[in-house]
């Protein structure tokens, strides 16, 4: 109760939520218009097959017409077109809070971009009657909103997104360990993160997740500064996480840094498909539609399986 009060009394928060909401709606609505809007409309249950009645089966599911014809009790089985249960795993570690010192118009802050992406995805999913949950994490789980498919759940998601201020370190190992039990099998996990973690067990954890049959999409979000390292001058780089500050001339290491980053991206691009994980690299100066479009394509292909 107190939380709710807090949510709605902080004007900045409210404004952020409404902004998110409006942006997400605009984005998704715009994208969906004229596409597969009616695909799932009204469809609830679909006949799958008959099965011999056995005690315990619901009597109302007995197909009396078949009973009349065959004198046997058959129970109608329906393929339940359950909504997709999707959990968005959003990185809320300190590194996501990177704010570029350069005033370049295209690129937005990394966290803002991630929030927008998450909100849009949530809206999109809810719009399609899928259940959406949100989990924020840094070293551990910070906030977990279980998946729901009610349209009003969007507000909860937005709250979750607006609340979490990025801080702490990124530690995939612990997070995946505690998350893996909460994830329903045959669900969708969307990871939104900059993947800037010192531990290299992300791939291992993705493997585990995939082993449980969880579809996984990784949105790798980096600010252009983090990719191109355009700094100049004598600079002390203070870490947004817990690393010691480093004073250096960026020119000296620019090439080496760019190579390291590119290696990491290439490595993910190579490894993820082999695990059955979808990997999407996004720079914050890229339009969000690209990400959403990718998701929709992916979603379609999942449904068509």
């Amino acid at each position: 109760m107190t939380e709710t009060t807090t949510h709605f009394t902080d004007p900045a928060l409210v404004s952020r939520i409404s902004n998110l909401s409006i942006h997400a709606r605009n984005l998704v609505e715009g994208m969906l218009s004229g596409h597969h809007r009616s695909r799932h409309k009204g469809s609830s249950v679909e006949f799958a097959e008959y099965k011999d009645y056995s005690p315990g089966d619901e009597i109302r599911h007995i197909d009396w017409k078949v009973m009349g014809k065959t004198d046997k009790y058959h129970v109608k089985q329906f393929e339940q077109s359950t909504n997709l249960r999707c959990t968005v795993l959003l990185d809320a570690s300190g590194s996501m809070d990177y704010r570029s010192p350069f005033n370049n118009g295209e690129a937005v802050q990394k966290m803002e971009y991630a929030r927008m992406l998450t909100a849009s995805l949530a809206y999109l999913l809810l719009k399609q009657f899928d259940a959406v949950g949100l989990t924020l994490f840094n070293e551990s789980l910070v906030n977990h909103i279980p998946p729901r498919s009610k349209p009003s759940h969007f507000q909860n998601i937005l709250h979750g997104l607006a609340e979490g201020a990025p801080k702490g370190n990124t530690r995939f190992g612990d997070v995946f360990n505690s998350l893996i039990e909460r994830l329903p099998s045959r669900s969708l996990l969307i990871v939104v993160s900059d993947l800037l973690a010192k531990d290299e067990d992300l791939v291992k954890n993705l493997k585990l997740i995939r082993a449980r049959g969880v579809e996984t999409i990784v949105f790798h979000i980096l600010h252009p500064d983090e990719v191109y390292f355009p700094f100049e001058g004598d600079i002390v780089f203070e870490s947004l996480e817990d690393d010691a500050p480093v004073g250096l001339d960026p020119v000296d290491i620019r090439e080496a840094y760019q190579k390291i980053i590119q290696d990491r991206i290439d490595s993910m691009t190579r490894t993820c498909p082999s695990l059955g994980v979808d990997y999407v690299f996004l720079q914050t100066d890229m339009p969000l539609e690209q990400a959403l479009r990718y998701y929709l394509l992916r979603r379609n292909s999942m449904l068509n399986k």
Binding site: G94, S95, M96, D97, Y98, R99, P101, K110, D194, L196, K198, H223, E226, F231, G233, D234, I235, V236, F237, E238, S239, L240, E241, D243, A244, P245, V246, G247, L248, D249, D252, I253, E255, A256, Y257, K259, I260, I261
Partner: protein, 719 residues
Amino acid sequence: MSLNFLSPVFMLGLVGIGLPILIHLFTKRQQTQIDFSAVFLLLQSQKRSIKKARPNRLLLLVLRCLAIAFLSLALAGPLFSMGDPEKLMPSASSSNILILDDSLSMSAQTENGDLFTSAKSQGKQWVEGMAPGSEFSLILASNPPKVQSQWTQNRESFLKTLDLIALSFRSTDVGGAFAEAKKLLETSKNSSKNIFIATDLTRSGWKSKIFPLSFDRLNAPQIQILDMSALQSVPNRIRVDTSKADQEFLANSRMIRVNAQLQNLLQDQDLQQVSLALWANGKKRSEVSAHFKKGESISKEFSIPYFEEEALKGFIEAEPDGLPLDNRHYFSFQPEQKVRVLVIDGDPKAAGQQSETYYVERALNPFSVSLSDIEPTVSTLSELTRRNLLDFHVLMLCNVRELPYGYEQTLESFVSRGGSLIISLGDQVDPKFYNEKLGNLLPVTLESLNQVSFEDEWFRFLIKPSEHPVLKVFSKKAWDGMRTIRFQSLYSVAPRDGKRYTVPLKFSNQFPAVVESQFGKGSVVLFTSSLDRDWNNFPIQPTFLPWVQRWVKYGARSLDNFSAQNLKVGDPWVSHEEGYTFFVKTPTGEVRRAEKVPNSTEVRFEDTWQPGIYQLFRLETVEPVSEDPKEKSETVYSLPLDAEAVGPFSVNIDPAETDPSKMSKKEIKNLFPGLSLEVLSPASDQDSVTPFHRINLTTPFLALMVLMIFGEGYLVRRE
């Protein structure tokens, strides 16, 4: 333990450290702080990057500051000392006398040069260590001692003077130097007085009447004696004490015989296979090796044929040791083509054959032409006083009754300087004169005339094999011929007290026939019979000619050219010859004129400060003597064209100077009763080690500066 600076003003250079700091501050780039997400990746990149980290600017700054600091410290002349800083760098001004031993023995070799160079450098450090405002004076302790620099406060010019001092070939006279120092101290201004003497403590240099030395209470100095002898790296083993050249007239060809006296200066070691060489006229003519027992002195004789007309100039040299200058001894010799003989006829006759000297003259020069190497001049007694004996080598007095009044002194002078006197007797001889006036020259007195009648047995030579240089060449056949010679008259002689003589030849009755003795450098030969036919038939015997010739040549054996004087360094060359102007060509090739001593017949040449061969020339015209004595000695003449070469003389170092015997600390302390005296020994030859045990840090500081600059350059280059 202390660190002092010779020129602290250079410490102002430390202010220069501010310069790199200012530059650092001005050029420091503005550091910006940026919050960044992937700092751990930056660290990884830094490790991988070829361009490692940029240089540590702080380290560069430190290196630059240190380089400037070390430079200014080095310029300030840092001295590190373990001892009392007041002793190292006195704060009160003082009067300081530096006595520098520039004698020959200081040329002894050390590991890095010679003792003299080390002594100069030690003296320099002593001067540098004195308080500002101090006055200095420099005395050279070679004989004669010389005040090289009077009191001066200008330290730089004093050190320059010190630098210019060169080693001399003189002996040491520490006593004289202290006498000069005492005089100087009486005129000094400061109450604090110091004397610093750097010497090798050669014993011969400390024999002076001035010791034991005492000062007034007010003028009493602090004396520091630096014993340089400890630095000598190689001992002085060999010394050539003398060398003397003679002409060997008795051989068929002209041979020069050089006799050298050498000494092993080591009292505790035999010397084997010491190489000795004879150098003559610029060439090595003979080489031998010699063995010495501990401390032994030996003589070595070299003989070389010599046919040249000009003077023989050379030296005997032993193999080098720790003091090479005393391993060489110069000699010179002016060979005479002719032995000039003045024959005084005491009984001249109108008929030549009856003259006393008829046979002698013919024996000496049988063909009246200059084929013989003997040139006789026959003269009567009355002409004797007009003859210059210096023109002759041998004087023969034949049957001379008595000499002109006072002439015996001229005769003594002639013989003592190397002339030879041959006296033959006869009927004119006055034994009283000979016994009374020629007491110095003749070792025997004439006793009585012995004569034989025709019936009696004749006196004959007593023929015995003889090793005498004159007689040993006669063959047996010649001796047989000589045995037949008949003597009818002869004087018997009696020895004088305390006189030494030899009798090379006797008569059959055991009376001496020839009496030979030495007087000074020359010799006196007395033949107790006559050299004409009055008393014997010897002159018509075939052996007479060689017999007379050989005695004359033998007499001339010790013939020194009269100009040839063997001098020690600093001894004046003196001549009494009148009517000539003498010129001397020194070993360095300069020509100088010998000075005439006013109111005397003496001519002197005093500039014999260098060992070597000096050549004499003379000119018959007497030039007017210049009035200014200074001008005389310093004027360098070119040799007049018509100057006649007289011959060389040699100048050698004083052997006593290089005696290895040194003064002990105790002996020295006894020479300065009641004075504050310190005898120090430098530990090594290095400049940095001084008697005050201080270390000059200039070089290390400079090295550190260079190191800093290299380090800085390396860092910058890496950037």
